[in-house]
């Protein structure tokens, strides 16, 4: 069956450095991907998304890269700050024109070291 997973469950990064969080997906029909950030005690918060017709999308300090050939997604966070410490989830869906369900990965815990 389809699965969305992450290469590393935990990641520690020095404050100010860049971080890269990876995600693999197995459903080649997936055409929309989202990264969420979940801080302790809170619900997931949308960070950035990308559609399958794109390879790269940039936001504020974040970049998402999509490699459809190897079914790989990554989230790059530039100049990490203490507030970036959280669990990051990727999610994928196949467009169904109305009843989209997201499939989530288990998450990567990012810790920023001061």
């Amino acid at each position: 069956g389809e699965s969305v997973g992450l290469h590393l469950p935990t990641l520690s990064v020095q404050e100010g450095d860049n971080s890269i969080i990876n995600c693999a997906y197995s459903n080649s029909a997936s055409d929309y991907f989202i990264w969420y950030k979940q801080e302790s005690g809170k619900g997931p918060q949308f960070i950035i998304d990308i559609r399958s017709n794109m390879d790269k999308r940039q936001g504020q300090r974040v970049t998402v890269l999509l490699n459809k050939t190897v079914k790989h997604l990554s989230l790059q966070i530039a100049a990490t700050q203490p507030g970036d410490s959280a669990v990051y989830f990727c999610a994928e869906t196949v467009r169904n024109f109305g009843n989209e369900k997201l499939t989530f990965g288990t998450g990567t815990r990012l810790t920023i070291i001061p």
Binding site: Y32, I34, Y36, G41, K42, G43, P44, Q45, F46, D49, F89, T93, R95, G98, N99, E100, K101, L102, F104, G105, T106, G107
Partner: protein, 116 residues
């Protein structure tokens, strides 16, 4: 800003009790979802609804039911709570249509339920 609220942040219930978890969104979204989140398992979809009075089973509907009487409100019901339903419960909503974010789900803060 989209706002999804959940009626309780923390709940403690006893085995066998009937439990209601309420979720309200203020963005006129058609789709609403209930997930549970457990360590190592990520988010798992319990039920979702794409319209008032409509509901669809997700991946783990057993032991749960839902109610969507109004567009803005989606309730999750545990008919007879059991200890294995101790979890973090997350509600989400998303719009229906061709807007820029029509697949994006917006989450509430979560309800941490402990069943004793």
């Amino acid at each position: 800003d989209v706002k999804v609220t959940q009626s309780s942040r923390y709940l403690v219930k006893r085995t066998g009790e009937k439990v209601f978890l309420e979720c309200v969104q203020d963005m006129d979204h058609e789709n609403m979802f209930w997930y549970r989140q457990d360590p190592g398992l990520g988010l798992r979809l319990i039920y979702f609804s794409y319209d008032v009075k409509m509901k669809e089973k997700g991946d783990i509907p057993e032991g749960y039911s839902v109610s969507r009487e109004k567009k803005e409100r989606f309730s999750l019901i545990l008919e007879s709570a059991s200890t294995n339903q101790t979890s973090m419960y997350l509600c989400a909503s998303s719009p229906l249509g061709q807007g820029a974010d029509w697949e994006t789900q917006y989450f509430g803060p979560g309800t941490r339920l402990l069943v004793l």
